[in-house]
Amino acid sequence: MAAQIYGFIFAMWILMLIGGGLMIYFVAPISFPSNIDPIITSGTKVFLALLLIFIWVYTLTKIKNWIFRSQIKS
């Protein structure tokens, strides 16, 4: 079996580690001035988390398409 599938698993692992780091270092500490409703702070965090997930899924979809095409070609 092609090494690309092992690479895909490894890429997912790396993306999970990086995603966790970004969440803890950048998203979780976000805070706005006290006069801003806390719901806006939470909403911003959720939006950024969803954006990270979207980027994660988009990247994996691209890798998947590349692997499938290269498997069929070879």
Binding site: M1, A2, I5, Y6, F8, I9, F10, M12, W13, M16, L17, G20, G21, M23, I24, Y25, A28, V46, V57, L60, T61, K64, I67, F68, Q71, I72, S74
Partner: protein, 329 residues
């Protein structure tokens, strides 16, 4: 520590030998009542008894009750109840084919005992970077975790021995990770799951003598999911089942909706010597099996071995991640 070692040995032995002894009886019982299905990847009209989930749940419950006698904590009780509920959802689907949304929704309700018993911690631990407290969001994670793991294991149950062999490797990796993190009681519960899957694999491996059915796949998946939550090893547990997550991801990204697996076109077909090859039909979904055989046709046994190699890699990555939990940048 001595008590924990004794508990680990007894619980593992009960999980393994109860299924090892009971499954042949169940096979005969199901055959006698004509509760069999066709094995579509065999040349002749081979009929296989189903559901083997009955055997799996008996072994799991017996071992978990003994574990609860050793350690009467709410986490073990939550594992026990969720296992039974996961099996119940599966057995309904085995008896009557339900719609695509039935299993995810019903499995979400199976998470209720975890919340009611308070057997969770709302901190989500990440390797290298520490943890983040997400009290409200974690409730959603608990509700989503059981349907995700249940359906993920169920969706990989496409070839002889894959679901049980896959769960065996992933559960042993998760049990080792829990021992590394010194969460011994839950590690023993995970060992019970690993030995349960291993004993069932003896009868499920190629050529299968019994199929687990939805009840078997869902009880394995739901138990794995609840162990991940009560053991606070959500990220490690996800890493250990990456090949199955890849399978679900590939499927969902090509189908783009949640459907019952029986409703979709088969992405594989057979060669003259009955190897599996990828179909030329572009409307069929890309799955892990299709990706493995995209280059050349392989026999069922060869594909199973490839999936097990991928699972071993993800298991090793999970154990590495467990070591990384102790390191903070």
């Amino acid at each position: 520590m001595e008590e924990k070692i004794i508990a680990a040995i007894i619980v593992s032995a009960i999980a393994f030998f109860s299924i090892y002894a009971f499954t042949p009886i169940l096979i005969k019982f199901l055959e006698k009542r004509n509760l069999t299905v066709k094995d579509v990847n065999k040349k002749d009209n081979v009929m296989i008894p189903r559901p083997g989930g009955i055997s799996i749940v008996i072994g799991l419950i017996a071992s978990e009750i003994v574990l609860y006698a050793f350690f009467p904590i709410s986490e073990i009780l939550a594992i026990l109840i969720v296992s039974i509920l996961g099996f119940s959802v599966g057995i309904v689907d085995d008896r009557k084919v339900m719609g695509g949304w039935f299993k995810p929704v019903a499995l979400a309700f199976c998470a209720a005992p975890i919340l009611l018993l308070g057997a969770y911690d709302s901190n989500l631990d990440f390797p290298l970077f520490g943890s983040v407290s997400i009290p409200s969001l974690y409730l959603a994670l608990v509700v989503f975790m059981i349907p995700i793991t249940g359906n993920t294991i169920n969706s990989i149950d496409v070839l002889n021995g894959v679901a049980s062999g896959f769960t065996t490797i992933a559960s042993f990796a998760l049990a080792i990770s829990l021992f590394i993190l010194q969460n011994y009681e839950i590690a023993i519960a995970c060992l019970a799951l690993a030995f349960t899957s291993l004993a069932f694999y003896k009868y499920h491996k190629f050529p299968s003598r019994i199929f687990p059915g939805d009840s078997g796949a869902l009880v394995l998946g739901a138990t794995y999911g609840v162990i991940a939550i009560v053991g606070h090893v959500e990220v490690i547990a996800a890493i250990a089942i990456l090949p199955a997550i890849v399978n679900s991801f590939l499927f969902l990204s090509s189908v783009k909706k949640i459907v019952e697996h029986r409703e979709i076109k088969n992405p594989t077909t057979h060669t003259d010597d009955f190897k599996l090859k990828s179909t030329d039909d572009k409307t069929t979904p890309i799955t892990l099996v299709r990706l493995i055989i995209a280059k050349k046709p392989l026999s069922e046994k060869q594909i199973c071995n490839e999936i097990f190699k991928l699972t071993t890699l993800s298991g090793v990555l999970a154990i590495i991640t467990a070591f990384m939990m102790g390191v903070e940048l």
